[in-house]
């Protein structure tokens, strides 16, 4: 694999997860487009071109994972609010479980800190660090 190969992986990773990040942001309450953009932009490197979120949201709506309603705002034009559907919620839950398993596996193999501290490279199994696992899921919730 060429030297630039590792950097090519990142866009693909984003590509696969951005949709679920959007769904996760809608988990607790409906939100409007600009609000979602701001939340995603706050996470370093998650979103490079803000405008492309809107086609993604349209697609999520056409696929039945979110619904939209126009709501009047106190000052200014009405806003389109997005909300999770039951299908969207179950898709998100399925992804979250898969992602956690996948991420933990990669972390362990790479011997990254926060996954029990033990390098799995030399064959020793590291026990899952309960504290770090909780911190990890808190980080996910805090999106």
């Amino acid at each position: 694999m060429e030297l630039g190969g590792a950097r090519q992986v990142l866009p693909q990773l984003r590509r696969g997860t951005l949709e679920y990040c959007v769904l996760a942001l809608l988990r607790d309450r409906p939100r409007y487009g600009f609000d979602l953009v701001r939340a995603l932009a706050a996470e370093d490197g998650l979103l490079t071109s803000e405008g492309t979120i809107y086609p993604l949201l349209s697609r999520l709506r056409r696929d039945g994972l979110v619904t939209t309603t126009w709501q009047e705002s106190d000052a200014g034009p009405p806003r389109r609010y997005y909300a999770l559907t039951a299908d969207g919620r179950s898709a998100l839950e399925r992804f979250a479980a898969d992602w956690q398993r996948f991420r933990d596996g990669v972390d362990r193999v790479l011997g990254l800190p926060g996954t029990g501290g033990r390098r799995a490279v030399d064959g020793r199994q590291g026990g899952a660090d309960a504290g770090d696992a909780a911190a990890g899921s808190r980080r996910e919730e805090g999106l």
Partner: protein, 204 residues
Amino acid sequence: MTVPDLDHPAVAGYVHRLTAAAATLPPGHRDELVADIRAHLEDALAGVPDQEGAVLEVLDRLGTPEDIVAAADLPDERGARAAAMSPPAGSPPPPAGAAPPPTWTALEVIAVLALTAGTFVLPVVGPLIGLVLAWTSTRWHTRDKAIATVLTLLQPMLLVLALLAGLALAGGSASGVVPVPATGVVSPVPSPTSAPRLPTPPSP
């Protein structure tokens, strides 16, 4: 303090470019996208001072209209996510399998005219020109071009076959076989001995 709005020249220009670029989308998608981007701009501009730099920053973060439309234009979800994550400058090529928008340019129109009307205006040469133009088109699939080629070449072939059939029929009449146009049945000339006899009237 005034805030910039959609009437700001740079913003108006951006929305204009977006609307134009989105012309390739289905009408419903296009209207929705432009409405969404306008709403985004309303919100984004409300938070910035009325300065050129701040306004351009908002537009920069939005990404180019072409990138946004490309994200909407892709045939599947995976493609939309790909475009959402692509670097803004120098937009990457669409993922493999994404077809160019199926709209006709002047090339396609002229090709069709040459293939059809060209037969009458400039026989043989006209349709051939139409075929050449058709093959250079990027908007038509190879399968469609192949079908068009077969159909176009089929016409003179059918003509030749019809001529041969006509010649065969005309040449056949000289060999003793008489076609009977009324009934369509080819039968030998009846001889007096084999003609059916009419029943003789009863003799008084």
